[in-house]
């Protein structure tokens, strides 16, 4: 439940891919928004960092990951999308043209997938930060 309206919320997810993970390896994590029935969460942007086991930036050597966001039973955006370009950009952030809306009791699931055709060269952590806000429902989206 929000303490103010609207309330900024930053959700962080770390997906740890093991060394030698083959192409198509998927890791998922669930975000708990703790919103009440009259609140909605709007995800405005996603920030990506790809790091090695020592937390150093590894995006230049292993950038071929895709991301899927599921709000409830639906994928929003409706397809997986490339996050390598986000991770290698200087700002490491992609703002969506319109926010992803998460309603009450809709689990928010984040899935990362290794897309390289060879096995992953080292243990890699994909850090995903959802830049969001929790607000009372007032119509709109």
């Amino acid at each position: 439940m929000a303490n103010q309206n609207p309330q900024p919320d930053i959700y962080e997810i770390n997906l740890s891919f093991a060394n030698s993970s083959p192409q198509g390896t998927k890791l998922s994590s669930q975000v708990y928004t703790f919103q009440s029935s009259f609140e909605e969460v709007r995800v405005y942007a996603v920030m990506i960092n790809i790091v090695n086991s020592e937390d150093d930036d590894a995006s230049a050597s292993m950038s071929d990951f895709q991301l899927t966001i599921e709000a409830g039973a639906n994928k929003v955006p409706s397809n997986s999308f490339d996050i390598g370009a986000i991770a290698t950009s200087r700002e490491k952030t992609l703002a969506f043209p319109s926010p992803v809306v998460v309603g009450f009791q809709e689990p928010l699931t984040i899935t990362g997938e290794w897309m390289g055709t060879t096995n992953l060269g080292a243990a890699t952590v994909v850090k995903i930060t959802l830049i969001a806000e929790t607000a009372m429902i007032e119509g709109g989206y």
């Binding site: 995006s59 950038s63 929003v76 955006p77 999308f81 950009s89 992609l94 319109s98």
Partner: protein
């Protein structure tokens, strides 16, 4: 069909060129928007990067001479192919269009990437099998009477 209105959409296409690709080689991928007859897709910008096909390491510094062509329905929008390499070398790897590209119901979106074959260390072929990843930064929404028509 959108689950919310508007709904953000990121359409990623992957274009793989072998290490022996020649100048003018192209790869076309179709984007399926799955939109309803009362919905439209607006593409506000593109994001792109270039990596080696195998280990996914960044390859834009070694090979960036690619053009991109976006086709919506039977029209090219923008009307000409444009340089993709310069986008991948920008800090944000992104180009925002001055006005959105509109895709209506039953209009397939095709993304064509063309290898221009500028000379590099290995001559006029890519240094190795290379994958160009293009993301269309878009929005799916119900059509309204106002706006881009």
């Amino acid at each position: 069909m959108a689950n919310q209105n508007p709904q953000p959409e990121i359409y990623t296409t992957r274009h793989t060129f072998s290490g022996s690709a020649t100048q003018g080689s192209s790869d076309v991928q179709t984007v399926y928007t799955n939109q309803a007859s009362n919905e439209e897709v607006r593409i506000y910008g593109i994001m792109a990067d270039i990596s080696l096909t195998g280990d996914g390491s960044v390859a834009r510094d070694a090979e960036s001479d690619f053009d991109i062509h976006i086709q919506v329905g039977n029209s090219n929008i923008p009307s000409k192919a444009f340089d993709l390499g310069v986008i991948t070398q920008k800090d944000d790897r992104r180009l925002d269009f001055p006005s959105p590209v509109l895709a209506m119901f039953n209009q397939p979106i095709s993304v064509k990437v063309i290898y221009k074959g500028g000379a590099n260390a290995t001559g006029n072929t890519p240094a190795a099998s290379t994958t160009v990843r293009v993301s269309l930064i878009s929005e799916l929404s119900l059509q309204t009477s106002r706006g881009y028509n």
